[in-house]
Symmetry: C2
Subunit: 310 residues, 2 copies
């Protein structure tokens, strides 16, 4: 039997949160080990079976840039019949063509709040990147797809330092204006703290981008991811990105820059009585299974604690 927290609701939180699981894409993309396509498919199946209704499956970025996800064409058909939303990343019209040809119904584009990261990640200015995404989002919407806009470096940038709220608001408005259904605010280097999170969400609300259209995407580099998530929930956000087992940052590598672990998030939400539909025991078993495939323990504290008790 899985150990579970005692359920004690807190005031001012949503009744239900949608967990946007990014492990198979954002997690595996950053792992050193190359994972066989069938293992990825099994990982996605198990995540869906654990109750995750949104599992970001892969990326249609050019294989040269993300070799770990070069098997997108082979992987997607193996999982497309699952009863879950399976968003895929598309950087440009060519990527969208590939996604559409496989029947994808949910896509995501990825912008940057800072010029330095736009240059480093996309070799474009912020506005050039937005111009590249505009026809992609328009066509995806015409085809009836949902479109998520990722925004990196919303709180700090390794080259530019703290990122002004206005700068983030400007790019968010542009992404919303071109038709993105949902915006995911990324703390790519993990420097955010709860007041900063709440101030950004408030500033977006004042600028016409309501919390109901936002997701938060925190990295645990400085151990702040879950506290920041709590702050975002208190501000009305109901979609939270997380990575099963904390995949995406190796705790034994130079810097533990991993994503928020889905299990640590679900533990908190279970304790708060916030519904997610996720079975923590099945999810933990999935992450333990995946950790075995990767040959190292999960960095999720909940996975470590539960997997040593069962």
């Amino acid at each position: 039997m899985t150990t579970l927290p005692m359920t004690v609701p807190a005031p001012g939180l949503p009744a239900r949160v949608r967990v946007h699981e990014v492990g198979p894409r954002d997690g595996l993309q950053n792992e050193q080990t190359v994972v066989p396509t069938e293992v990825k498919a099994e990982f996605i199946r198990r995540l869906a079976a654990a109750g995750l209704t949104t599992v970001e499956a892969t990326s249609f970025v050019h294989p040269k840039w993300v070799p770990q996800l070069a098997d997108a064409e082979q992987l997607y058909p193996l999982v497309s019949g699952l009863d879950a939303r399976l968003p895929v990343l598309v950087p440009n019209e060519r990527g969208l063509d590939r996604a559409l040809s496989l029947g994808a119904r949910h896509v995501a584009v990825f912008a940057s709040a800072t010029e330095s990261f736009a240059k480093a990640n996309l070799n474009r200015t912020v506005d050039e990147a937005l111009a590249m995404f505009t026809p992609v989002v328009a066509r995806a919407r015409d085809e009836g797809l949902t479109v998520r806009g990722y925004l990196s470096m919303c709180f700090g940038d390794p080259w530019e330092g703290p990122v002004p709220l206005e700068q983030v608001v400007r790019v968010c408005r542009a992404l919303a204006g071109m038709g993105c259904d949902e915006l995911s605010l990324g703390d790519t280097i993990g420097v955010a703290t709860p007041g900063h999170v709440q101030a950004l969400i408030a500033a977006l609300g004042e600028a016409g981008v309501p919390a109901s259209t936002l997701a938060v995407h925190f990295h645990d580099t400085y151990g702040q991811a879950l506290a920041n998530t709590l702050a975002a929930l208190q501000q009305g956000v109901t979609t939270v990105d997380a990575s099963a087992g904390g995949l995406g940052g190796c705790p034994y590598a130079k810097s533990a820059t991993g994503n928020l672990a889905t299990e640590d998030l679900v533990w908190m939400l279970d304790g708060l009585g916030v519904e997610t539909g996720v079975d923590l025991g099945l999810l933990t078993a999935t992450s333990t299974w995946m950790a075995d495939r990767l040959g190292r323990p999960s960095p999720s504290r909940t996975v470590r604690a539960l997997s040593h008790k069962e």
Copy 2:
């Protein structure tokens, strides 16, 4: 230069928090490595120099029970001249005698909220333990000492499961009634979540034990420690226990049951603009130094991230 978070205050938080540093006592007590007395003294000196105003120094428990702290008589005089509060644990009158003979001005007793842990840790019922502490607290107060009451298993117990709020309130009222100046609410097995934390603090307030007399003491077993701390601060708590570098639970051992890392806490409080007086760079350097003495990396995410950048 140390990377620092951008400072953005959040409403409803205290202007200042006192960090009660437990690394030299609660941290080292649970480490496998036996640390030489002079290294412990240097650790405490460095922590005070980093701006920590309260550093729990050692324990006057019988050396048979806590061999790692058997050098309390030798250690205390090496640090007693520091400009910081240096509380010491005293389990009984004999321990108080030893602390008084060395000139200690701040002591702590440690009770349990559950019968199972009282039996396991103190070989007494909860009420027998309280009866043992009553004359200790009275004499300490007569001598002009401040007395902290630790309360273990305030949220969950490995044998009993979830712990009812009323049970915790009863023991807290008894500790406050016998003269403890401050009560530290311990989540010894790390199962608490933010709503549970807020409910307990509210219940204590209604029972006449105000948040101003409370400290919170979270373990990061399930990754919840910092989110729980944020919830406690929102409820008016202004004293937080933490362990430099997250000492006290080895991340490579069976279960990562360590204390909240002081650096992860200070990162959050710096970002929130909550004053602590702690210099994060000096503190991180101290924990890196101590990790070298212990022969393993710090489990604090902030320490790992910062120590790889400097």
